[in-house]
Amino acid sequence: MSTLAVDKLEVRHGAVRAVRGLSFEVAPREIVGLIGPNGAGKSSTLHAIMGAAPVVGGDVTLGGRSLLGRRTEDIARAGVALVPEGRRIFAELTVEENLRLGLAGRRGGDGDGFARVYELFPIVHEFRRRSAGALSGGQQQQLAIARALVAEPDVLLLDEPSLGLAPRIVDVVFDALAAIRESGLAVLLVEQRAQRTVALADRTYVIANGELRLTLGPDDAGDTDRLVAAYLA
């Protein structure tokens, strides 16, 4: 297991500086939250880590080795898995075929198949023969996380996994993230639900305009909303 380090990252979309000198680390067995308003640069940071956004400065390293300039699929195969915003599951394929695609990013042999993710998400096991498009939004989100985990990554990135989910399902997803942390992964969680993220994460960074504004620990969860509002005003 390796540490993901983002160091003075600069991302620019044309004239827009989406991320400005952002630095943080995500170590194994750790959840780091990234919260902030729309357009703060959260998604740009994730895309930059995956080699899918124009990085104009700084560095992204995994276990000390730079990921910059590498192809998206090679970064995935190096041990970084992204659960993208909107889940992006293959609706025309079956649930099991979606999981099999996750194997593309797995290093080494076939390991233990899908047993671990089936244990984590029983619903995915139950519906494995169905068309993925027939699943509900919450089930699709569980499938998207399961598909990322099949690759047995060192680092799991999630882009707003609770978006559009019923509260009961958000509980399922957040419980799963806690279990994933226990298994030793480094988890970077981009979220809009500030309070829940701060409560779950080991550290949460509040960013706005591409810059780090505030670092919160789990103890700050009680008062998060007021704190965040104050800093983003």
Partner: protein
């Protein structure tokens, strides 16, 4: 001029099924590459032309039949891989229009090379000619190649289905044609998937080259050009986005073409493409998303 009365016999039906099968294979070959590259490869017919020349030279050199077929596969596959490495790969990030024009250029280039090197009169591929003779099945004469084409087309389509559903690279090809960006996020290697699709498409081109050369042993620089245009119409007719509709489109237009070609009197068969393309235009006016796509599917794309 009146439309000829259709008198369809068993032989015409067999020939039409065979042509449908061959066109279905071409449609799949074009559709596979379109799926992963969003590119209609207009040079597909020239791959088949190159394979046909390989067969013609093999029979000129008196090589055994199976060596000639192997030579044909070798030439077509080498050309497919070269096309991927030299043209598709460097141009992949360009707009679809650039790639489309590039495949036009390759098509004309290959055709011109054939014209310069082998002359306009063409070569005869005679070694496979015996397959063109008929066998008599319960009183009906059917050309052997018709039977061979139908069987080969069915076997190829079944093997392809197995490849696409049962193997990792096949699944990755399907995923890539649905959403390449997400597939790459999961670690699917773009070069491998595209290379695989180009290679499978090349194998199909080689199979088609053998079948068409048996039917039409005179190999000229414009060999398979007309077939490719008809198949492209068929692929559009069926729906370009999905392999199965594209295959059905290719089969339908080949079958219709064979049936009409056999039924029309010889002096009217020159108008056959006109009728076919008129039919394609009519169908697309009524069903712009293609004949074999479900409405809901087409809207999502």
């Amino acid at each position: 001029m009146t439309l000829a009365v259709l008198n369809i016999d068993w032989q015409t039906l067999a020939d039409a099924l065979a042509l449908g099968g061959i066109y279905a294979l071409m449609a799949v070959g074009i559709g596979l590459v379109f799926g992963v590259l969003r590119l209609v490869n207009f040079a597909y017919g020239q791959l088949i032309m190159a394979g046909a020349y390989a067969l013609a030279f093999a029979s000129q050199w008196d090589l055994p039949r199976w060596v000639g077929i192997l030579f044909c596969f070798g030439v077509v596959l080498a050309l497919s891989v070269a096309m991927d490495l030299l043209v598709f790969r460097p141009l992949r990030t360009q707009s679809p229009a650039v790639m489309l024009v590039a495949t036009f250029a390759i098509a004309f280039l290959l055709q011109s090379i054939a014209l310069l090197a082998f002359g306009p009169l063409g070569k005869i591929a005679s070694s496979l000619a015996p397959l063109n003779r008929p066998v008599t099945i319960s009183g009906v004469d059917i050309r052997k190649i018709a039977i061979v084409s139908i069987v080969v087309a069915v076997v190829c389509l079944l093997l392809l289905q197995l490849l696409l559903t049962r193997t990792a690279v096949g699944l990755q090809m399907r995923a890539a044609s649905l959403d390449f960006g997400t597939a790459r996020l999961l670690g699917v290697r773009a070069n491998r998937v595209i290379g695989g699709a180009v290679l499978v498409s090349g194998v199909l081109a080689a199979v088609v080259a053998v079948m068409l050369t048996v039917q039409n042993p005179l190999v000229t620089p414009d060999f398979a050009l007309r077939d490719t245009i008809v198949v492209l119409a068929g692929v559009v007719l069926g729906g370009l986005n999905r392999p199965i509709p594209a295959t059905l489109g290719g089969f339908s237009i080949g079958f219709a073409s064979g049936l009409l070609g056999g039924a029309l009197p010889t002096n009217q068969s020159q108008y056959l493409p006109t009728f076919l393309f008129a039919a394609v235009i009519l169908v697309l006016l009524v069903r712009p998303n293609g004949l074999f796509t479900r409405r809901q599917q087409a809207e999502r794309v």
